[in-house]
Structures are given as C-alpha cells and as structure tokens.
C-alpha cells in the first residue's frame, strides 16, 4: 500500500526517482541515451495507466507515444520541486486520455449503471481464480474516470497519494476521498450491486469541471 504521508517533491525522492530527474535534464540537452533509459523505465506504467483508463490498447499506445513526445518537446516544463518524473508523465498521459474520453461519448455510465460484473453475490470469494481477477480488472475499468484514475495510480501502479495528487493536479485530500469512494464502488460492483446513477453522474460532472 501507499504511504499517504509521503511527499512528492525533490526532497522525498527515491534514488530511482532522482535518476529519472537526471535523465530528463540530460535528454533536454539532446542526450538520446538518457531519453532511451527514461523511456524504458517509464513506458510500462504510462502505457498501463492509459490502457486501464481507456480500455483500448490502440489508444493506450497513442497516448504513451504522445506523452513521451510531449516530454521531448518540453522537457524544461518538468519541475522537480513539484513532483517526480513519473507523476509528471502520468499527468500528461491523464490529460491525453481524458481528451480521448471526451471525444467519445460516455462509456462508463451505462456500464456502471446497468451492468453488474457478475450476478453471483459472492464474486469476491473466488478471487484466487483468474476469472475473478479479470472481474476486478473490468470493475476498475468501469469506474468513472475520476475514480478510475486514483485506483489505477494508487492501487495498481503504487503511487503515493502525494504523487497521485501531483499527477492529478489536486490536493491529497481529494485523492483520499476519491479513492475511498472508488473502493466502495468497486466493492459494490463486485457484490453485484447496481451503483446509483445519480451518484456516479454527479461525480463525473464534478470531475469534468474540476
């Protein structure tokens, strides 16, 4: 689990995160090897984040490419004092994913409102089975973006709350509250309960306007 109290600035960086910062500084001056190293370290999390957020491998690939190209074009836009390189990349990827999600009409609401993952009331009892793991994955994918992203970042990619807050450009408290709400939604979906349309719609409206 994540350390909610962890900071996200340069002072709290791990050696790996400091190495990321070094790579960014090197690639800004044209160091191709530094860029390659950074890409190989961070492409996986960015791609997975984009995939879990979009549910589409092609979109995830495009988002991942655009994320690193954006970094290439504006490496100086990264400020170590504001967070890790990973959170910066997630922030770029998130904006790109949300742009994709806005361009198509919504997804999630129908799935969330009308499609319980499994009619069985005890899906959680069989999580050791691969099928049950897939259900959890689909449940996550069906969450509204505002909740999905905190689950993906904090629960699946292991970011600290502070890092997630930096990536999402929101306070840590918002991350906590959204995560709590997301977990409740996940638990309800996995129990086969229909999630209230009003609550999700309100959360999404809040998300898009924030």
């Amino acid at each position: 689990m994540n350390d909610a109290e962890a900071g996200c600035g340069a002072d709290a960086m791990t050696p790996d995160e400091e190495q990321d910062v070094h790579f960014v500084q090197q690639m800004a001056s044209g160091d191709e090897q530094a860029f390659l190293m950074l890409y190989r370290r961070r492409q996986g999390p960015v791609f997975r984040f984009a995939l879990r957020m979009s549910g589409n491998p092609l979109v995830a690939e495009e988002v991942t490419q655009d994320t690193f190209v954006a970094l290439v074009k504006d490496a100086s836009g990264y400020d170590p004092a504001r967070g890790t390189v990973a959170s910066y990349l997630f922030g770029i990827a998130r904006n790109l994913v949300l742009r994709h999600l806005r361009q198509r009409t919504y997804v999630g609401l129908d799935e969330v409102d009308h499609a319980p993952e499994d009619p069985s009331p005890s899906v959680l009892d069989g999580l050791t089975r691969r099928a049950d793991i897939e259900r959890v994955r689909r449940a996550v994918a069906s969450l509204p973006p505002a909740y999905r992203e905190v689950v993906v970042l904090c629960e699946l990619e292991g970011l600290a709350y502070a890092e997630a807050a930096a990536a999402l450009a929101c306070p840590i408290g918002t991350v906590r509250s959204r995560l709590s709400r997301a977990r409740a939604l996940l638990a309800a979906k996995l129990r086969g309960e229909a999630v209230g349309v009003r609550g999700i719609a309100q959360e999404q409206a809040l998300r898009w306007t924030s």
Binding site: M27, G30, Y39, V69, L124, R137, L156
Partner: protein
C-alpha cells in the same frame, strides 16, 4: 451503531493506509462478534487482494515498436532545434572557437607569406649583397690609400678568408705606402688555401703566422705588371684597380690580389700607390 462506526473506521484505515490492528480494540471486538461487520472486513481484504493481483497480473508494457517511433521523434525534435539554438546552448559553443581557429590560420598564413617574401631568392640576394666591411674606411685625409669596403661583384676573394677576418681598430696612417700598417683588418690565417689567389710580393714572403692584416687599396693598373698581375688589359694604364694587400706584423706588405678595376683616372695623381712607386712601369 457499532456496526456503522466499525465500517467507517475500516474505510478510514484504508484511506489512510492504516493496518486493521490499529483499529480501536472495542471496534475489533465488535467485528469478532458481528457477522455482518466481519463479512464487510473480509470483502475489504479481498478487494485489496484482488487489486494487488490485478496489478501483478497485468504488468504489461507498450508495444516494442513504439520505442523506435518515440526515439525517432526525439531525433527529429533535436534536428529541428539545433539550427535555432541560442548561442548559450552547447550546440553552438564551437562557433567562437572555429572563428578563432580561422583567424589564427589566416594570421599565420599572412605572416608566413611575409616571411617568404622577405626570404625569397631575390631578397636573399639583395640581403647578401649588403657589403660587410672588410677593412675600416681609410680617413679621407689619407693621401695614398683609397680604401673601400665595397667588394666588387666579381671579387675572387675567398669566402673562407672573409670569414676569418676580424675587424681591428683602424689607425689613420699613410705609412701603408711605406709598408707600415695602416687601416687594416686583422686576419687569422689557419688555412693556406685561403691565400692561394694572393700574389707574393718579390721582397716579401707569404706570412705563416696568424697575425697579419689585409688592407684594400686602389693602385694604378700598370704598377702591377712587375708583380705578374693579370690585371693587364687594353685599358688605359692610368686606371686604378682595387687590390687586397696582406701586411705582416712587421708592417711590410707581403702579398696582394686583384679585387676589381676602378675607373677613377681623376684620382690617379693623387692616389699613387707606393706599390706602383716601387715598381714603376718603364
């Protein structure tokens, strides 16, 4: 009431990443005796396990081909950026250095060209033609010796002899005409070949010591006949010719050699050489 408190505490623990054993003891005791709360706690734990399993199962990466595309974008970006980079960027730091090198090469070339022009064959010939004084000029008051320091272009003076000449303080003295040392240059003779083109005077002997002097004088051409000089020609006999005369330590002339003919008939009467006087042409 206890059930609601327990579930709130459970959510808060997850929200704050606190382990369940940090829950208040009273709430934990309630969960042990409450089936609904125990089930809720199990669901939360299973959800955690499920998310962890999903995170581990789906450790997938971007397609490998994407790396090449991104790398190409990186190269293209830096190809575009370089020409418009600011002077402070590393990519243009070579410009001042290159300019300096070009200027240095240009300056070196200009300097070398100047050196070459000075040391061209023509210039060297001119430089070598600058006369090196053989003997100090005789004072203008000297009645008999018209010493000159300008070697004739066709001078047969041995180079080795020139090299062995050392300037000696000249003493204005007309006694050259009477075999006394006059304006002279001391010559160090250590090579008999140096003297090969000197003609020994009848009363003298070729000096063998190293301390002899050489003076350059103008003498009437016909005065040299008696000494077997080749200076005889169809020219007027009153012509003056320049000759080097070796004078020994005792002041007596020992030998001479012809240097150049001069054409100063006006000075003939005034600059009659004692050599000519000693051996007048009949």
């Amino acid at each position: 009431m206890k059930c609601e408190q327990f579930r709130d505490a459970l959510r808060a623990a997850r929200t704050w990443n606190r382990p369940d054993d940090e829950l208040p003891a009273a709430l934990r005791q309630h969960a042990d005796g409450c089936v609904a709360c125990r089930d809720e706690s199990d669901r939360v734990h299973r959800l955690d396990a499920g998310l962890t399993a999903v995170a581990r199962e789906s450790a997938i990466n971007a397609p490998h081909a994407l790396e090449g595309r991104v790398l190409e974008a990186f190269r293209a970006h830096h190809r575009e950026v370089r020409p418009v980079a600011t002077p402070s960027s590393g990519s243009l730091k070579w410009l001042p250095m290159a300019a300096g090198i070009v200027l240095a090469i240009g300056a070196a070339g200009w300097f070398a060209a100047g050196q070459r022009s000075v040391s061209s064959p023509h210039e060297q010939a001119v430089a070598q033609s600058v006369p090196t004084p053989i003997v100090p000029r005789a004072p203008a008051s000297s009645p008999h010796v018209a010493a000159t320091s300008r070697p004739a272009p066709h001078s047969k003076r041995p180079a080795a002899l020139d090299e062995h000449r050392t300037a000696r303080a000249a003493t204005p003295d007309a006694s050259v005409a009477t075999s006394s040392p006059g304006p002279s240059a001391q010559v160090d003779f250590d090579h008999e070949g140096v003297l090969a083109d000197f003609v020994t005077l009848p009363y003298g002997a070729m000096p063998t010591d190293d301390d002899v002097h050489i003076v350059e004088i103008d003498v009437p051409r016909d005065s040299l006949y008696d000494f077997g000089s080749a200076a005889q020609s169809g020219a007027a006999t009153n012509d003056l010719v320049t000759a080097d005369v070796l004078i020994g330590d005792d002041g007596a002339p020992r030998a001479f050699r012809l240097v150049e003919p001069t054409a100063t008939p006006v000075a003939l009467e005034r600059q009659q050489s004692p050599l000519g006087a000693r051996s007048p042409r009949p």
